[in-house]
């Protein structure tokens, strides 16, 4: 039998030191920008900031044709945008099976492989420019996406519905864009 305790010691990974003058200038600039933003467009446009629940995913195939319910009829997903420019999302297909035994490391290989194919998780920063929404991925279940920027198109349907169109991607060998509808979590 055993128990646990806390062990605390780690190195700082972020925040390289900057000269104080530069920091002060940066802060003034940031304050001015924040001010300008609050003063103008913010009121008439709905905000991305908040948490969104995935409603549907439609795939538009390069070879022509549309696949409704690309993640199944009741996809699962949550997507969060913060006011300071961070994004994190987790999307998963409907109808996934639980692992028959073991955990993420010890379950049968085929089951882990199948489970991996049916979700996508990512985190990073985001930027908006007009109708373009860029996700810069810093961590992802799909390692290929790390340190890559993805330019989505986005629009709102009312204040609480968000429609995102992905850049082209390949799923199951089929080149497509995915149109994802999200509903604001209240």
């Amino acid at each position: 039998m055993s128990s646990s305790g806390v062990f605390l010691e780690c190195r700082m990974a972020a925040n390289p030191r900057r000269p104080p003058v530069l920091t002060a200038l940066a802060m003034m600039l940031a304050a001015m920008l924040l001010h300008a933003e609050i003063g103008t467009a913010q009121t008439q446009k709905p905000s991305l900031v908040g948490t969104w629940r995935l409603v549907s995913v439609t795939a538009k195939l390069d070879r022509g044709g549309v696949m409704d319910d690309a993640y199944g009829p009741h996809p699962h997903g949550l997507l969060t945008y913060t006011a300071n420019g961070r994004v994190a999302g987790l999307e998963a297909h409907d109808g996934r099976k639980p692992l028959s035994s073991g955990d993420r490391e010890s379950a049968p290989l085929e089951e882990r492989a199948e489970a991996f194919s049916q979700f996508l998780s990512y985190a990073g920063s985001y930027k908006v420019a007009g109708s373009k929404l860029t996700h810069h991925i810093e961590a992802s279940s799909l390692e290929n996406d790390v340190n890559t920027s993805f330019i989505h198109k986005f629009r709102f349907q009312g204040p609480d519905r968000l429609i995102l169109t992905t850049p082209p991607l390949v799923r199951n060998g089929v080149r497509q864009v995915q149109v994802k509808t999200w509903e604001r979590v209240k």
Binding site: S2, S4, C10, T80, T82, R86, R96
Partner: protein, 166 residues
């Protein structure tokens, strides 16, 4: 004999903002968990004296972020160091061995959270596999702040062998 494993995640605030900084000055004694935190290190141990402490449980440079929003939502992703990109950039068509390995090296879920004393409880709503976590949908973490921009989250001891057939 059951070995128990504790995992400690060290997280640092990612990109502190001017606004966050200013508001924090007023509440320096009560650091807030709200915001986005970058994973710095993962420690694990099974021995009560931590003789077997592993300071690189996910490898030397794990990646990860956890976000807590002011309105009670949370989302987390953690990946091991040295994960390889899939040889075929396709979630479905990549070789099964590569997909299985990728699956084994990511921890992620999203949902809501509640604070209770020095603990935070994560209520999972979306996970990679339904029923993947044998401890259920609630995850309890002991929260320890080091200043306002660093926090550790300690899992309860979990048995490495408590996974039964479903």
């Amino acid at each position: 004999m059951r070995k128990k494993l504790s995992v400690l995640l060290m997280l640092a605030a990612a990109i502190p903002l001017l606004a966050a900084r200013q508001s924090k000055e007023n509440f320096q004694e009560q650091p807030s968990i709200v915001g986005t935190w970058r994973l710095l290190a993962v420690y694990s141990w099974t021995d009560k004296d931590k003789k077997d402490l592993n300071q690189q449980a996910y490898g030397p440079h794990p990646k990860g972020f956890i976000t807590y929003t002011a309105d009670g939502r949370m989302i987390v992703i953690e990946t091991y160091d040295n994960r390889k990109p899939l040889s075929v950039n396709d979630l479905v068509k990549a070789p099964a061995e590569e997909r299985a390995a990728a699956y084994a090296s990511v921890i992620t879920y999203a949902g809501t959270y509640t604070l209770k004393g020095d603990t935070v409880i994560h209520h999972q709503e979306v996970q990679p596999s339904p029923g993947r976590n044998p401890l259920g949908n609630d995850q309890v973490r002991v929260v320890t702040f080091q200043g306002t921009d660093r926090v550790s989250l300690r899992t309860p001891p979990v048995s490495t062998r408590c996974f039964g057939s479903v």
